[in-house]
């Protein structure tokens, strides 16, 4: 289980928003997709994911709906709201600048 502090502050939210933006997903699917897409580098457990999802919902950035999953389990699907889309755009833009800069610095010879 990875703790939220393993990720940079705020990046967890950004990752969740990004995944949810692609298509509505439930908690396990989100964790799975992050692991998949980061080629097993980023792993998040429910201990971090679940509070983050609820906080985003509380702040109106995503909303949830109950549905039955592919393998016939009832699950809570999260999807992006309009405010969430805007936040995603802003956050990704805000991430790009420093992260590119840091990469430049640390990859310099």
């Amino acid at each position: 289980m990875s703790k939220p502090t393993d990720l940079l502050q705020g990046t967890l939210d950004l990752l969740i928003l990004k995944i949810v933006a692609l298509e509505p997903a439930h908690g396990w699917a989100i964790a799975h997709r992050v692991r998949q897409m980061s080629r097993d580098v980023l792993q998040m457990g429910q201990g971090a994911l679940c509070p983050a999802l609820h906080k985003l919902e509380q702040n109106g950035l995503n909303r949830s709906q109950r549905a039955v999953s592919n393998n016939n389990r009832r699950a809570k699907y999260y999807m992006l709201t309009k405010a969430g889309q805007k936040a995603l755009a802003e956050e990704s833009a805000a991430w790009d600048g420093p992260s590119a800069a840091i990469t430049t610095v640390i990859t310099a010879v």
Partner: protein, 890 residues
Amino acid sequence: MPIRRFYRCCRNILRRGRIAEDLDEELRSYIEMVADEKERAGRTSEEAIREACRETGKLEQVKERVLDVKAGASVDRFFQDLGYGLRMLRRNPGFAIIAITILALGIGATTAIFSVVDAVVFKPLPFPNADRLVRINSVLAATGNGDVASYPDFLDWRTRSRAFERMAAFRTNDFTLVGDREAVHLHGAVVSAELFPLLGVKPLIGRSFLSKEDEPSAASGANPLILSYSLWQREFSSDTSVLGVSIRVDGHAFIVVGVMPQGFQFPIEAEPIELWTTIAVDATGGANAMTAQRGAHYLDVEGLLKPNASVKQAEAEMAVIATTLSKEHPENKARSARVVPEVEGLAGKVRAPLLVLLGAVCCVLLIVCVNVASLLLGRAVGRRKEMAIRAAVGASRGRVISQLLTESLALSLLGGALGLVVAVSSLGLLRRILPPEIPRLESVGINGHLLIFALVISTASGIVFGLAPALQGSRVTLTEPLSENWGRSSSGGKAQGRLRGALVIGEVALAVTLLLGAGLLIQSFLHLIHVDLGFDPNHVLTFEVNSPPENAGASPHQFFGRIVQQISTIPGVSSASADATLPLTGDAMRSSIELEGQPMPLGSRPSANFNVVEPGFFRTLRIKLIQGRDFTEYDNVKSTPVVIVNRALAQRFFANQNPIGKHVRPGIGNGYGPGEPPMREIIGVIGDISQGGVDAEASPEVYAPLAQSPFGTMFIALRTSGDAKAMVNAVRRQVMMIDKNTPIYHVKTLDQYLSQSFTLPRVVTLLLSGFGSIALILACLGVYGVVSYVTLQRTREVGIRIALGAPQAQVLMMIMAEGLRPALLGIVIGVGVAFKLTGVLASLLFRVKPTDLATFAAVSALLAIVTLMACYIPARRAAKTDPMCSLRYE
């Protein structure tokens, strides 16, 4: 956005159960999905579930974290803790009852006193311009006491000042309205025309006074009159055609020009004002009118500050004006001026005592808090294990503190609720025992302010008494309390002991301060009731009566003379007489006087109290005649004008001379026809009497016979051999027989006036003594608690010491020292604080210094003895323990 957040917060709290269920389901399905994945990877289903669970982490912690991010989580947790706190209280009812009871008493008393102070001192005045209204006092430089002003002073103030938008003068007066039915006595005010626009109040119907109506010439025979709403309702049946009608008041014609709105009252006094007329009624008499005399101090002055002017600026300006006036007129030499915000001036003499009481009752509440805190500390010992378990299962220190604070809050809110009941039920009592002449006392009652104050003060107390025990109680090491033999030698116990010691120091210091205040007031009160009044107030009935002007031909002297004569015939009346202003009522008349051989323009003469009496007045009141003779029937308009003066006047103006045979000219009281009042020969000197309340200094006084200076409103005083009050009906009958149109009013015994002037000091002394006693008891309980606690902590040690042969006295001393040390330190600190603080009592003390050594010594000794007792009782018990018992104890 905040609204939506608030909405979500409420929803979360209300749908708590549903949210928890949802969360359970979500987490469960997550684990199942992880397990599915593991199974797909080849684990058995059991292994898969076990691994999934392990990876997910502690389910309860995850849930807790999710609930934490929800809006309203803290509110939710607060209610959870509150419920738990209440359950804990129910499990320990003895503690809960004691704590809630003393909290209820403390909060109740504080709330009750606050609501009186709020209504009487703080509540804004009911006028549009309330925040800019100020009272301007003429101040006697010698004593610093505020005084009323003379009309010439008022006019000079008004024309020379820049800080005021408007300025108006007023005085109250008693009127007799003669209508169709029987004559009625009315309390009214004589005001300058500017008063109503100054207050920002318009009449309900009709008009305000016009500024030219301050002059008698403008009135053309009939002065204007404005009625109060209630008088208009009562006597004129709310008839709007009353405007322009001429009515007879005190035998003169007045034209009704307006009716004030319902509830309007100015000046604000206990006795409602029923009508207003202009200052023109005082301007009759031409050059000798009251309004022409600078020595005639009889008017209150109200000012409306300009919007940008401060009270300080106005006061500075008035100081300059007063200095200039004191150079221009000898009479003003001893005078300066003071500007007081009206709301402050209105509370006047009761402001300081009420604020002192509020401070005192807050001290009591603080002591209550200290006691509850030390009770909580005691309980914390029993709850160490609980706290350790909480910490062990992962509660943070902050979480434990907030839980403990919530429990204290539960306690204080319960105490506050009960305290509110105490406050509301004691309001009636307070209203009854406080002097009824306190303005706005009748408006004391249950209102929003009271409820808010009770809530705020309960919450604050909860935090005050809960914080230290919570900080202390939350500091636990995990292993110590859980081990079996914890408590024998714990560092926690020592820290607790120190905290308790500090609490005792605090409460003893507060109790000392309160008791010192109470002691000083008691002494002052004893001085007050034993002061020599200069007359004998027992068995004297007094009432006021107006001479009916309709009785054409009969002079006031004849009218009042007849009443006095008739009343003297009532069996049981030993003597009767009349005078214009009664001692103790505080309503002395002020006049200018001119001294023989020292001619001075009218506007510059010194001032003295002026009174008019019938022969035998001094005998009736038993006022000492020091020199010369009393007035007789032969001192009338046909004989030499005469006066009797008091000792203060003789000493001030005729030092080292025989005053008998000298002459003075009082500015008022002329029975010899128009023109300047005559020079009068001094025929007697009487002893000084207390004029305006018992604690006032004696000022120069002049008494003239009624026959030589007619006066329309007189007090009749009769000395009786038995109970003075029993005479009231007989007196009323006699006066009715003389003139049925003459109502008698203000019927009171001199004793009543006297006890009235004592009421406030008595109530303040009583309440402060009560608060002091409560503080003393609570402080003793605190000391007792500390020593008991120490005894418990050290039972084993004491046992060993005794077993090894330590003398009992030594053990006793050792334990008592634990309580005595903080108590004595508390006394020293309390005395130090009180030394600085009792200065605020200075204005309430009569012939006692705020740093009276005897009081300080007595109170310190009392505290020392009482705390010694509180230490001795539990310590003796400890010293007497059987060493075998105490060693086996653990």
